[in-house]
């Protein structure tokens, strides 16, 4: 790497536009221009200085703002496309069964759906290319920032108070002219700028007034926040850092909590409460009548248990942790987990009450209630009288393809059926019958395996009543990265504020060595109006040459052109 030696004696890195120390234009481009490009202080961006090896080439690719902007554009466009159709985890089909997922998209969205699915857009945000794009954005943010902030920092640190006249002349705010006492003017201007809270340095008949340099770090602070945010999102993928599971819990049921190994939840009851037009809710009468019914509360009363110290899964050696009433937006929290009330299902069959009846006399020999989640083998009704359950089908299939199938489709009691054996003192051998909910009992002989001969019984069981219970749909959440995301977000906002609400302003005033005239130049990264206001305020009390804002002139020229 060869250094560029400026006339002032300072050695600049290759690629420098303006001398770091005195500001002389070094590149041909900078020399030709009327107003210099002050971005990054005309420093040599590191990326521009080496282009030999493959490492440097990759580095330079990511260092380019153009590349960064393109990555953002591609991410925006693809993210938008991902919202056109629901993602596969939000459709009513098990997301892990490819054939069903494919069928769903084609059935609901036609050719477009098929193409969408074939391109893998149904699971876009977890796709490898989307992740790589986000990763590339992160790399671009880091490299582009490092490549700019380091040289910028060095330039600003190395800047000298006295700049070369050619630098002064190329600033947007520039003025030159004779004053009575240039030295006195510089001194007074220094004092005046100090009152305006500028940092002032005076040396070699030159003054530099500078304010809010830290505003230049705003973009880099905000990028740091972004990177912390991205790291947080990345950490969500680590086991144990982020849990998002769901469970259904029946009233009275105790179940292991998915995603929270060692913890168990028991439901004591689900409550669905509506607003009542009578009583204290009377004020809502109009709204309730308009809407029909309005839900006041969804609540699951739960007990949380955990495995005792050293207890193994399945041993049911549990200890109670706490009782809690889960209400919407008031989750049960423990050990970093939150359990939210999300859904409910009312009135699932939970129990059935039957009577054993003599068909002839219709006398009842007794009643019994079967708990469908834990049916018993035998229900004693009295001396020598009992009902035995030979088999139980929670979701009875019945007749399929013209054949009787004694089988269950699911473990859920959607259509319970029983094979009872009825024993009374009169029928000590027992009579068997198949009882299906909502259908007349089939009196069949099942004692001998396979034959389902219709027989004539003396006794029957009569369905009397059903019990139901409710189910709560709960969501289990845990997010250890939440605070990291928060910190990233706060740093991001600090950076934005730093760069937006403060501006880096600089004013140079110096005596031209040859002519003895006073040169005045000013620069700010934004809000030129306030910089001019500061200079004008100083110029009221201090004799300074008048200056012009050349960008303003250009604006005016354009406007005139429009008027004509």
């Amino acid at each position: 790497m060869s250094k560029i030696k400026c006339q002032c004696g300072h050695e600049n890195p290759e690629g420098t536009q303006l001398c770091e120390a005195c500001g002389r234009p070094l590149s041909e481009e900078a020399k030709k221009s009327d107003i210099v490009d002050m971005r990054y202080e005309g420093s040599a961006r590191r990326s521009k200085t080496y282009t030999t090896s493959i490492v440097d080439k990759v580095w330079n690719f990511f260092s380019s703002v153009t590349v960064g902007v393109w990555i953002i554009v591609i991410l925006l466009v693809t993210s938008a496309i991902g919202t056109l159709l629901p993602q596969r985890f939000n459709i009513d089909v098990p997301p892990n069964i490819e054939a069903q997922v494919a069928e769903y998209y084609e059935k609901h969205y036609g050719i477009f759906g098929k193409v969408y699915y074939t391109l893998g857009l149904d699971n876009m945000y977890s796709s490898w290319w989307f992740k790589i794009l986000v990763g590339m954005l992160g790399v671009s943010i880091i490299i582009a920032s490092v490549d700019r902030v380091v040289p910028l920092y060095k330039s600003l640190k190395r800047q000298r108070t006295r700049r070369h006249a050619s630098f002064m002349k190329r600033q947007r705010l520039f003025g030159a002219g004779p004053v009575d006492d240039p030295d006195e003017s510089i001194e007074q201007a220094g004092e005046a700028f100090k009152k305006l809270k500028y940092n002032v340095k005076i040396e070699n008949d030159a003054m530099l007034a500078e304010k809010n340099r830290f505003s230049r770090w705003g973009p880099y602070v905000n990028h740091t926040g972004l990177i912390i945010f991205l790291v947080g999102v990345l950490l969500r993928g680590l086991p144990g850092w982020y849990v998002d599971e769901a469970m259904w819990l029946r009233e009275g049921e105790r179940k292991s909590i998915p995603g929270a190994q060692g913890y168990y939840l028991e439901s004591k009851g689900f409550t669905l409460e509506n607003y009542d037009v009578e009583g204290e809710d009377k004020v809502f009468e109009d709204a309730i009548e308009r809407a029909g019914s309005v839900v006041k509360n969804y609540q699951t009363d739960v007990v949380l248990y955990k495995d005792k110290e050293g207890a193994l899964p399945g041993s049911e050696d549990l200890e109670k942790v706490k009782e809690y009433e889960i209400v919407v937006n008031k989750p049960l929290t423990f050990d970093g987990y939150s359990i939210f009330q999300m859904e409910y299902r009312l009135d699932e069959l939970s129990g059935m009450t039957f009577a054993l009846v003599n068909k002839g006399s219709t006398d009842s020999l007794g009643e019994f209630t079967i708990d469908l989640t834990a049916p018993e083998r035998k229900y004693e009704l009295g001396e020598g009288t009992y009902v035995q359950i030979l088999d139980y089908f929670p979701d009875f299939i019945g007749t399929r393809n013209g054949k009787m199938e004694l089988d269950t489709a699911t473990p859920v009691p959607n259509n319970p059926a029983f094979i009872f054996k009825l024993v009374t003192p009169e029928t000590p051998e027992g009579e068997t019958s198949l009882v299906e909910i909502g259908k007349p009992a089939l009196e069949i002989d099942v004692t001998d395996k396979g034959t389902l001969d219709i027989v004539e019984n003396d006794y029957q069981v009569k369905f009397l009543a059903a019990d139901t219970h409710d189910m709560s749909g709960l969501t289990i959440r845990k997010d250890k990265t939440l605070y990291l995301l928060l910190v990233g977000g706060i740093i991001f906002m600090i950076g934005v504020a730093q760069g937006s609400y403060w501006q880096h302003r600089r004013v140079w005033i110096q005596k031209d060595e040859k002519t003895g005239e006073l040169l005045l130049a000013g620069h700010t990264n934004k809000n030129w109006f306030s910089l001019r206001k500061d200079i004008d305020e100083v110029a009221e009390t201090v004799p300074l040459p008048s200056y012009e804002d050349r960008a303003d002139q250009e604006d005016k020229k354009e406007k005139k052109g429009d008027d004509n």
Binding site: M1, Y50, S53, V55, D56, V58, W59, N96, S126, W128, K131, I132, G135, M136, G138, V139, I142, I143, V233, L234, R236, G237, L238, P239, Y242, V243, D244, E245, R254, K255, S256, I257, P258, G259, Q261, Y264, A311, L312, P313, G314, S315, E316, T373, A374, P375, E376, R377, I389, L390, D391, Y392, P394, D395, D407, T408, A409, T410, P411, K449
Partner: protein
């Protein structure tokens, strides 16, 4: 001298950049394998999570007690057709392998005692069957479809996870796989 210093500096910078780019690449590659919100599933080579279940006959089965012997851990339900089809094959192979140091433990996922007991009687199964009442064992093994069979070797390590129905030959081969040498 000066040139040498420059060359060194350039080399150093290249190394720093190379290392930084390599780290970025590794982070991105690792992130490709991670899916937020999904538990890291068990895979062959992992230690089988220990558990304790009581079977229908009241005997307690603790997985770690079977160290030194193979364990054929089958998760099933009475309502699941493929489970029903493979049960008789399991019973047949059990008769051969129970004296060869291979245990079968059939874990029913949360059904009633009566239902499971009726099933066992009608299929005349002699291997131990336990009911996972709280689904704690199912969750510990992150079982999704039924049947799922976990094959555990004498060292307590998972050899294979079968998320599908097995025929008799497959069952036999799997049992040979976990049989103590």
């Amino acid at each position: 001298m000066n040139n040498e210093r420059k060359a060194n500096k350039k080399k150093k910078r290249s190394i720093i950049r190379g290392v930084a780019l390599a780290i970025f690449a590794i982070v991105i590659l690792v992130s490709l394998t991670l899916t937020p919100g999904k538990q890291k599933g068990l895979k062959p080579g992992d230690m089988a999570p220990d558990f304790e279940l009581v079977d229908l006959d009241g005997n307690t089965h603790r997985l770690s007690d079977y160290r030194g012997e193979g364990v054929f851990l089958n998760f099933w339900g009475t309502w699941c057709a493929p489970c029903k089809r493979e049960m008789p094959f399991m019973e047949k192979q059990y008769q051969t392998f129970k004296d060869e140091g291979v245990h079968i433990l059939a874990v029913n996922v949360k059904e009633s005692d009566l239902k499971v007991d009726s099933f066992r009687r009608s299929y005349q199964l002699s291997f131990p069957i336990a009911i996972d009442k709280t689904e704690a064992v199912k969750d510990a093994y992150q079982i999704k479809p039924l049947p799922t069979t976990i094959l555990i070797d004498p060292d307590g390590k998972i050899v294979e996870i079968v998320q599908d129905e097995m025929n008799e030959l497959e069952i036999k081969n799997y049992m040979e796989m976990i049989q103590p040498k």
